[in-house]
Every structure is written in C-alpha cells, then in structure tokens.
C-alpha cells in the first residue's frame, strides 16, 4: 500500500503542484495530509480562529480532492483548519461540498469527525476522580487550570478514522488528530501491522521534510509492507536518503527513538535504514507497544488578556550601557499607577540587540550599538493594556540617568503609537486523559456529497 503526502501542514502555504502531480501519477492508494499543529501558538485554538487564509486551504483541498476522486482512493485530512476544532471541521466540509459542486464530481461519501471536548465534560471527569496527567513535566490537570481554559481538543488516534473508512468514507475531514495516525489508519485497516503503519505515518507526516535538500510543501510517497516502509521523494531535485529519513525521526520530538500516539508507542530504537535507489530509503526494525490503558492527549488554550505593543529605539551608548536601569525606571512608573504586575497586568520589555530572541538563555550579553525595545503589555481590558503600554514606552523616553547627555529624550520612538495585537493566550492544557473506549470523545457523521 502506498500513500501520497503532499504537505506537512495543509493550507499553511500552498502545496507545490509539480511534485504532487508526479506523486499522483504513481497511483497511490490514499492521499493524506494534516492541517494543524500546536506549533502556531495557543491563540488559534483559544480564539477558535484559523491562522491560514481560506484561499490557500481551498487550493490544497481542491488539489487533493480532485486527485483522490480521479484515482478513486480515500482522501484524509486531519486537524482541520490549523487547530482541529469543530469550527475547522465544518469549514473544511463546506469547502469540500462547494468543490464537489463546482467540479460536478460524481457522488461520494464525506465523513466528518469532531474531537472538540467541552470544558464541562473534562470537569465532570475530574470530579469523578479521573487523573488527567500532565505531559512534559506539567502537574496533573487541576480544576483552577481547567477554569482558565477557553477551548479544548482531543488528539484522536486511528480508531475514529478507521471507523469512518469502514462506513465507506471516500473523504475524511477530521478534527485534531495525531499526524502519524492519519496515515497509519488506512494501513492498519488494510491489515498491515501497527508498527509498520505507525512508522509509515511518522515518516510521511511532514512530507518533504524527510528528504534533502531542504524544501517545504513538496510531495513524498511512502509504501508499507508487513515489515518495511520505503519512502521516495517526488520532487526531481529531492532525495530521501538514510541521513534525511533518520534525521526526520528527530524533528520536533524530544526523543528520536519513541513516538507516542493514542493507545501506544512506536519504538524506533532498532530501526535500520538502507538506500534503495537514489531517491528512496527503506526502513525496517520498528516495533509498537500498546499501552495498558488507552490514553488520549488533550490540548487546551485560555485567554490571558488583551495585548498592546509599542516599539522604541535607543542609540545613545550611555543609555544602552544602562538599559536595565532605563527599563527599571519605566517599570517603576507603571508600578506607581498600576501596582505590581500580576492579575491586573503583565509587562514585557524585549531588548532586540541584546537578548530579544533568547532572553535569560543568551550567553552573549554585549549589546549592539543600537537597541530596539518592543514593549508588550497584557491586561484583561484593551483600554488598560493600551495605557499601560503607552506609559511603559514613554517612560523609556523620560528615563532619569545620572550622567545622560541627551536631555531631550532617551529613546527614539518609531511612532508615538500603541499597536493592538491579537489577544494573549496560554497553553493551559497539555495532558493525557484515559478513555474506556477510543471513540467515546468523537462524533462521526457521514453524508453523500454531489448527489
């Protein structure tokens, strides 16, 4: 069985057409992509907004839909519209219906899988004593953290996707999903062992990132047998090499040997990689262990406040040398009126030219000959964030230093203006929830489109 992977994040930037068409010409057995990530920050989930333009999303869905229908094979898209909320699933389903009509496609079955979880449902499970364990060093989920959460999604495993295919789905639009499970689902359903199926998903999930030289949004094809996965780059100038495929196992993962999915863990410790032809690498030696208790990942985001941003520059070498005192002055002036930062407000000074990118991790702390100071204020009400940001910025201008020569202003304001950013959100939930039934948090619907 072969699966075509055209993009690592559908809609984020448009799929490249050339390598996609070359991939389709190989007649894959499914066309699969994920369309979301938690990489984009907590705001899209918390506010339930896409971070990609609908034009690009439609472009990518159209390419995949027309190819899949022409080939007569399943199309699977997960984590719809960046965060995989119910809104995202509905949006993509509507795009699919519109495309079917516009292209007068023969009738096909569309499955939609919803995986958003209400805060009340999670609260109910907490009250019943369910332990919702924190990932990556987080504490277990507590009621007060849940209360600060605006929206949650469950990251589905293969089971709901297999169920959709069992019900005859030609096109599956799924909510938040584990990337690798989108690819593993059709392979497991076709009877391939879980280890090979999940490895297939792991290697295909970011498309051309598993190939070299570095290119995004180019297609690759993976082929699974009982005990091996081969992966081939479709762009004529890209190759899937032992190094590129092995390196990909590290990408965005804390540990290159293990990939956790709902229900188990893919173990890549014993993987062997061999070059089959110039553009193809073959991988064997993976194993899969099922967890004793089926657990599903929950992602949740909550609003912290409205966000205001202002920009100032500093050129006076004496002021730069004393920048911490300047910032201290401005913070103190804000503190006089608003008290200590905390629930009422948060205030950040990003010092580009010294440690704006790395903050306290920066070992090279000698500032440049000029600094850009980005002042960021967050408060529950926009009006408050705005004035706190203005106060904290203008006081860079009025900072009192004992030996300053430039007594007409200690900062250059790019404009005396405060910019309104999107509200500040926080990842409040990065936890795992035990389930009795892998399907219990999902809703699956099917419909015939184009009839």
């Amino acid at each position: 069985m072969s699966i075509l992977s055209p993009t690592g994040h559908l809609g984020f930037t448009p799929i490249e057409r050339g390598s996609f068409d070359l991939g389709v010409a190989r007649r894959p057995d499914a066309v699969v992509a994920d369309s979301g990530s938690c990489d984009i920050g907590p705001q899209p989930l918390g506010a339930d907004e896409p971070c990609s333009p609908e034009d690009w999303q439609r472009h990518d869905l159209e390419l995949m839909l027309l190819a899949a229908r022409r080939l007569g094979v399943p199309m699977i898209v997960g984590s719809a519209s960046d965060s995989g909320t119910d809104r995202g699933v509905n949006q993509y389903a509507e795009i699919i219906r519109g495309l079917a009509q516009r292209h007068e496609l023969a009738p096909f079955t569309l499955a939609t899988i919803y995986s958003e979880v209400s805060r009340d449902e999670v609260a109910r499970r907490l009250r019943h004593g369910t332990r919702i364990a924190g990932l990556d060093g987080r504490a277990d989920l507590a009621p007060d953290v849940l209360a600060r959460t605006d929206r949650l999604v469950a990251v589905m495993g293969v089971e709901p996707l297999i169920r959709a295919l069992d019900q005859g789905a030609d096109v599956v639009i799924a909510g938040r999903s584990s990337d690798s499970c989108l690819f593993a689902a059709p392979a497991i359903r076709a009877g391939f062992p879980e280890a090979a199926a999940y490895y297939l998903g792991k290697v295909l999930e970011c498309a051309s990132f598993a190939a070299e030289p570095f290119m995004g949004k180019e297609s690759i094809i993976g082929t699974v047998t009982r005990d091996a996965v081969t992966v081939t780059a479709m762009h004529p100038a890209q190759r899937c090499t032992v190094a590129s495929v092995a390196s990909h196992a590290m990408y965005e993962r804390a540990n290159p040997f293990f990939e956790h999915v709902a229900g188990g863990v893919l173990d890549m410790t014993g993987c062997r990689y061999e070059q089959v032809d110039e553009r193809t690498t073959r991988v064997t030696g993976f194993t899969f262990r099922r967890d004793a208790v089926y657990r599903i990942k929950l992602e949740g985001a909550g609003k912290v406040g409205e966000r205001a941003v202002a920009i100032a520059g500093i050129r006076d070498p004496y002021t730069i040398q004393n920048i911490d005192a300047v910032v201290g002055w401005a913070r103190a002036k804000v503190g006089e009126r608003w008290g200590e930062p905390g629930a009422r407000y948060q205030l950040y000074y990003h010092l580009y030219g010294r440690d704006g990118v790395m903050g306290p991790w920066e070992p090279q702390r000698t500032p440049g000959h000029e600094l850009c100071v980005v002042v960021e204020a967050v408060a529950p009400r926009w009006e408050d964030a705005e004035v706190i940001c203005a106060l904290g910025t203008r006081n860079l201008f009025y900072a009192r230093l004992p030996e300053v020569k430039g007594t007409a202003g200690t900062a250059a304001l790019m404009m005396d203006e405060v910019l309104r950013g999107k509200p500040g959100y926080e990842w409040t939930v990065n936890h795992v929830l035990p389930l009795a039934d892998p399907l219990e948090l999902c809703t699956l619907k099917t419909e015939v489109v184009g009839a």
């Binding site: 938690c38 990489d39 984009i40 920050g41 907590p42 705001q43 990932l135 990556d136 060093g137 987080r138 032992v242 190094a243 092995a246 390196s247 196992a249 590290m250 990408y251 965005e252 993962r253 804390a254 540990n255 290159p256 040997f257 993987c271 990689y273 992602e299 912290v304 406040g305 966000r307 948060q346 950040y348 990003h350 704006g356 990118v357 790395m358 903050g359 306290p360 991790w361 920066e362 070992p363 090279q364 960021e376 967050v378 500040g424 959100y425 926080e426 990842w427 990065n430």
Partner: protein
C-alpha cells in the same frame, strides 16, 4: 591545543518546538568521524548546555546520541508554554546559535 568550532564540524544545527512545553536541539553531522570526535571530546554534553544557556541541569529533559543520523540531540523545558504573553520565539527556531562557537578539541 588544536580546536575547531562546532559549526565547522556539524552539517546542521537547529532548534524547534517539541510540543508546547519544550524546545529540542539537533546537531547533525555529515560524517561519522566528526560525530565520533565531538562525542569523544566532551565539548557538547548536558553539563556544557546547562552552563551555556544558564539553566539548571534538570531543565534538560533529554540528551541523546543518535547514531542513525548521526546526531547529538537535547531538549530543554521552556520557562513558559510556547506563545504565552512575553514570548520571544513562538516556534523555538532561533535558540541554537550559541552552540556554533563551542570549541571542539581535535586531539581528543
């Protein structure tokens, strides 16, 4: 003592989010000799990372020598989840630069 900078020995040095609470760093080598040399030299260890980034040792949640790539990989737990107010690097993509200048003794 003859030394080379890590950036001269590695093919790829990168950082990226690993989930919302961690940033992971990959130092990938073009050839096994450079990889083995850096491993032997002790120029890149969890303790070195802890000193370079001024973080307590326990914040380094993984430190792995990964033969298939070949690569040295480590992961640091963030101060706060990615994209929170005050964020400096939403994707964690620009945290690797200080690794460039690590001196690797060639006679190790």
């Amino acid at each position: 003592m003859r030394t080379k900078r890590l950036v001269e020995l590695a093919k790829t040095i990168r950082s990226k989010n690993a989930g919302v609470d961690q940033i992971t760093f990959d130092v990938i080598f073009a050839d096994r000799e450079s990889y083995e040399l850096v491993k032997r030299s002790g120029a890149l260890t969890a303790d070195v990372v802890s000193r370079l980034y001024a973080i307590p040792r326990e914040r380094i949640t993984a430190f792995v020598e990964y033969d298939p790539a070949p690569a040295i990989k480590f992961t640091i737990r963030r101060d706060r989840p990615s994209g929170s107010p005050g964020e400096r690097d939403v994707f964690g993509a620009q945290q690797y630069a200080p690794l460039f200048d690590l001196r690797v003794p060639l006679d190790a």
